[in-house]
Structure formats: C-alpha cells, structure tokens
Symmetry: C2
Subunit: 344 residues, 2 copies
Amino acid sequence: MTDVAERAGVSPSTVSRTLRGLPTVSPEVRARVEQAARELNFAVSRQAASLVTGKTGVVAVLVPTLNSWFMGSALSSLGPLLRAAGRELNVYLIPDMTERTSFFERLPARRNADALLVFGFDLTHEETARLDDLGMPVIYVSQHAEGRPSVYVDDVDGALKATRHLLNLGHRRIAFAPTTGATGFSFSSRERLLGYQQALTEAGIPLDDELIVTMAADDTRGLITGIGQLLSLREPPTALFAEQDELAVAVIHTLRRAGIHVPDRMSVIGFDDHQVAQWFDLSTVAQSPSDMGRLAGELALHLIDDTAADRTRHVILPTQLIPRATTAPKATPQQDEEPARTSP
Amino acid sequence: MTDVAERAGVSPSTVSRTLRGLPTVSPEVRARVEQAARELNFAVSRQAASLVTGKTGVVAVLVPTLNSWFMGSALSSLGPLLRAAGRELNVYLIPDMTERTSFFERLPARRNADALLVFGFDLTHEETARLDDLGMPVIYVSQHAEGRPSVYVDDVDGALKATRHLLNLGHRRIAFAPTTGATGFSFSSRERLLGYQQALTEAGIPLDDELIVTMAADDTRGLITGIGQLLSLREPPTALFAEQDELAVAVIHTLRRAGIHVPDRMSVIGFDDHQVAQWFDLSTVAQSPSDMGRLAGELALHLIDDTAADRTRHVILPTQLIPRATTAPKATPQQDEEPARTSP
DNA sequence: ATCCGTTGTGACAGCGCTGTCACGACAGAG
DNA sequence: CTCTGTCGTGACAGCGCTGTCACAACGGAT
C-alpha cells in the first residue's frame, strides 16, 4: 500500500480511503490512486485489514458433505450472493464423527469468520452451546434450532404430503426408508419420519416399525437386504416413501432388478425433486435448496451488519408434491401380474 | 493470547511457541498453557499470524459450479486433505462470464491464499498470464496448462475408448453431444471431441459436423430439438456419445419419451461413471474426480512447502470403459421393432 | 478584517501475532 | 572453580492495514 501511495504521490491513509470507497477523497486524487493500484496489481490484504477492523470479510459454512445435490445447490446460490457483498466463502467439511468432534473441540472458525452457516447437522445441546460462544452469528440451515436463527424447509409437512398421496392412492402398508450418513442430514431425516407417522395416524393406520428400514443409495448390498426385509414381511408394503430422491431411484433400480415393477407392484415416492427425479419420472416432494442457500446467506449478511437484529427469527420454506409416474393406485390382488399366481 | 499467557503465568511468546507445537517448550509449561487456552476457548487468529508469516493458511479453489457431481466429488476429497494439513478451504465460485471477468481483473485471491486450484476452465492466454503473477502456486485441475502444474484425466483417451466401443458394436453413424456451460468444463469438452474424432478417423469414417449437437441436461426443450435435429438427418445416427453421464441420462429419458428404445434403436454412452449411471445401467467411461481432487490437493501442499519443487509436473489420470446396458450391437434394418414397419 | 465550518489530506498508534535476539539457569568438561 | 554449550523463556520490533485526530486551505457569514 505504501508503494501505491508513493506512486500516486499521496499518503497511505489516502490510498486506504480511496480503495475502500470512502467519500472524502477528491476525484483527481481518487483517479491517480486507482491508476497506481492497477499498475502495481495491488490488492488489499484482508488479513491486515481484519486485524484492525475485527471483521474478516469471510463467511464460513459447516457442511457434512459436498457431493450431494442439496449442498451443491445451496452453495451455488450462496456463493454469488457473498461475492456480491464482497465476502469470501470458507468451507469446513465435516464428513465423519472424528472430524466433527475435533471441529467442536477446537472451533477453528473462531475469529476467522464473521458468521457461520451450519448446514443440516442434528446438533447436540453441547454442540449448539459451543457455537453460541463462538462470538459470531451462527445460522442454522436445513434444521431447526430453538431460539436461534434458522432457515429450513417444512420437512414434516412435506413428508405428510408424500404419505397422504400414497394413502389417497389406496395404499395401507407404506414403508419409510430413511437414509444413513455418518454426520448426515439426520435432522431432516427425523422430521420426515415424523410427518410420515403423522399421516398414518391421521388415517387411523397403526405404526409398524418393521416398515421402517434404513438404507443408503450407494450401498447396493444394503439396498438389496433392506428391500428383502420388506418383501419378506407377512404383509409386505405396496408403497415406499424414500427420504431422498437419490435413495428412491436406487430403490427403484433394485426393485426392477428383482423383477418388481414400479409402480404396478410397488409405488415409490422420494423427497427433493432432484434433477434425477425428472429423468426417472419419479414422484416426489419438491424443496428448493437454492432458495434456502440464498435466504440463509441474506440472513447471515443481515446479522453481521446489524448487531441489533432479531436473532431468533426462523425462515420456513414450503414444499410441493410433484406426482409423476412412480406412484399409482394400489393394485387389487386380482390385478397381480406375476404369472405363476395369475389364475386361482 | 495475552490472556492465555497471564492465566498460564508465562509470556505471550511462550504461548505462541506452545500453540504452534515448537519443541523448545518444557512439558509442564506446555501443559499449563494448553490448559489455559482450553479454558479460555482460545483460538489463534489466522489474520494476525499470517500478517507476520506471510502465509495465510488458506488454499483457494476457483470453480465454475458447485452443484455438479464432478466438483462435489473433487472437493469432497480435497476438503479433509486440507484440514489434515491444518489449512482452510476458500471457494471462489465463478458461475458466469461477468464474474469471470471481474475475478481476473481484480484477482481477489491475491495475498489471501497460499495456493490456488483452478478447476476445469478453459483459460485464455491472458487469464493464465494473470494467474502467473498472482504470487502463489497455481494448480490447473481437470485441464492441461502448458508448463504449469496440472492434474487432469486423459479425456482424449477416454473419448477414444467410448467411441471405439460403439464402433466395435458395429455403429457407423455416431453422434457426439457436447454440453454447454456459461463458464463450464469446456476444456474436457474440447478434448473429448478430439478423442471422438480420432476414433472415427482411425476407423476410416469421415467426420460429419451434423452429428455433433450441443445440449444441456437441464434444458428439456433444447434436448428435444437437439435430438430432433439428429433424427431428421438423411442418415440418422444409431449411437450417441454424450460428453457427460447426466446429459446421457437426460438424452435417454428424452428418447424414451419419443418412443425410441435404448439401446435397441439407439445406443447411448456417457462419460464420468456418475452414480446415476449405475441406476440407469448406463454404459460410460469412468473417471475419478476424487482422485483428482486428492492429487491436486497434495500437489498444492507440496508446492506451498517446497518452493524449489518442479513447477511443470503434469499428473494424468486414466479412464476405464464401463460397458452396461445402454449400448448394444447396431440393429440390422430387419430387426427394427417399430410395429408399422415390421412386415415388408 | 475576523471567525467559523467544511473539506481533503497526512501523521501516527495499534490491531494480535511471530521471529529474532538476549539472557538466566544449569550441566558437563577442563 | 571456571568456562562453555545447551535449553527454556522473555522482551521487543514490526507485519500491513485502519481509525482517530490534527491541520491546512478555503469560502461564506458576521
């Protein structure tokens, strides 16, 4: 910065003022400084600036994964938003329990960011308490945190819609497939289970734990045994509600391999309206992670700038049922297509 | 840090030494300091430290998008690697031309990172030159940059394998579908086109530009018109090589809607071995973005630490053909299944 | 002519660390 | 007993900025 000052024939103070866009700089000096800065390829060191201002110019996000449709979409809308606000995006990726523990122990984000967006973890009380004294706004995204700023989709309602759709098609034995994840989206998982159960209860159908089988989209063996479990029940399900589209698609693939036609023999519905849902003609419940990312980002910027802002506001996003081709009315036993059992 | 020093009854210097793990600290003092630091929830300010050391402790990545399988996988392996090395991950998301221009004009990464990983852009000479005087190692990932450290997959060879596979199945009219992207992976796109052309030339088949139609997986109308273009040729293709699995899947979906069976009427092969490929039984060419992310990260760390390291090393990753169910031998005209034309 | 307010600029301290150097304590060699 | 080397610790400057204050220049009001 001293170099720029010399080249422009002004003091470092004036350079600083110019580069920060403060109004108290005469037009001709401003022009000279900007010229000099350009010639010297000068960029302000955030480190040095933040040392004085106490602001880092960085927004950190804590995410369980990056190779998921949800995180990708959310961060894709968050990124440009932050750039437009002149802020950088710092990613803390916590893929497993070890990293999670170490993150909350050492809180490396402390003093190295102006705000933290926590995506989709189902945090313990201790963990939330740790974040409370991080000394920066913490926004909970894709999860509900009591008394703290949160942005999330109405998972219970979405699951309710999915399950009601299946009920309306005449299904009575409806399975629910939550998905696993080392540190994953267990918050949404729990809420969706709740919505599923609520819908069944509404319809007067007793809950049956045997119909709830956890699976993972990328674990072929687990999928097969999970589905085998369902098919070997005394009264197997005629419909399945998968916690995520990707799991739904994997389930359909596995069912087809086993010769079980979807939706004739089994209706399947997902959750997300992932792009793959369209390609599979998958019935699903749409949510918008990009809206979520955007709203969470806006909330973060707001809380950084306005320290007096309401810190308990919750933003709840809606869901929509998208019926497609993988859900159909329950087949009556007579309609069963399996050749061996066709005639009495 | 002063607070910790007081609490532990030592000087700030000693606290600094302890927290950095320098060896010249006696065990009992070390214990006291660590205890005090824990009690006060102290974390070193990277900003202040970097001001002195000149190292930011940050590795920046420049990416065209985040909601793609490729980027998600690559960053998922990069993240933990950097954390293990005690470094943070800063993401510059450049989704369009405007942001791209402004990034290269202002180079905001300057002095705010120790290394930059540039993912998949097909940079101009000016842009590369700009990065050269960024004052930090720049690693080119998923692209080849002459005389600069690069990590990329052998796209030409992969495309060669895909096209040869179709040729070996008897196809002679083979379409190629590159994908669009505002700032996208045009580097791979170009290389894959090269491989495709090379395979055809090898087989003595003349190149036909009408068989090359750009499409985007998320643009339904564009897909329909693109495919329409191919089907309305005097001699339509019997096979299609899509630049990416997601596009291949979208194409298959569109073809099916149009009543064109894959692979009976049209063989389709992708590139990536994306998870969706498995669910669709899509023939494809596998590459490993997570290997790429890891290797690029390791290279970055190496170049940061060892300033004397070779700065022109290229790491080239292999590809594998994964034949699945969407490619089949070319149907002879007699085998055509379309009912209206079955009998002569 | 004097005073005051406004505007643009410079001087300077200090943000929280680290690297360097100095120094005391102590052990082992002479 | 003295000298020398080693080890652990403290003092202090300074990294590159920004915020504050001081101050010169000038125009308009009195």
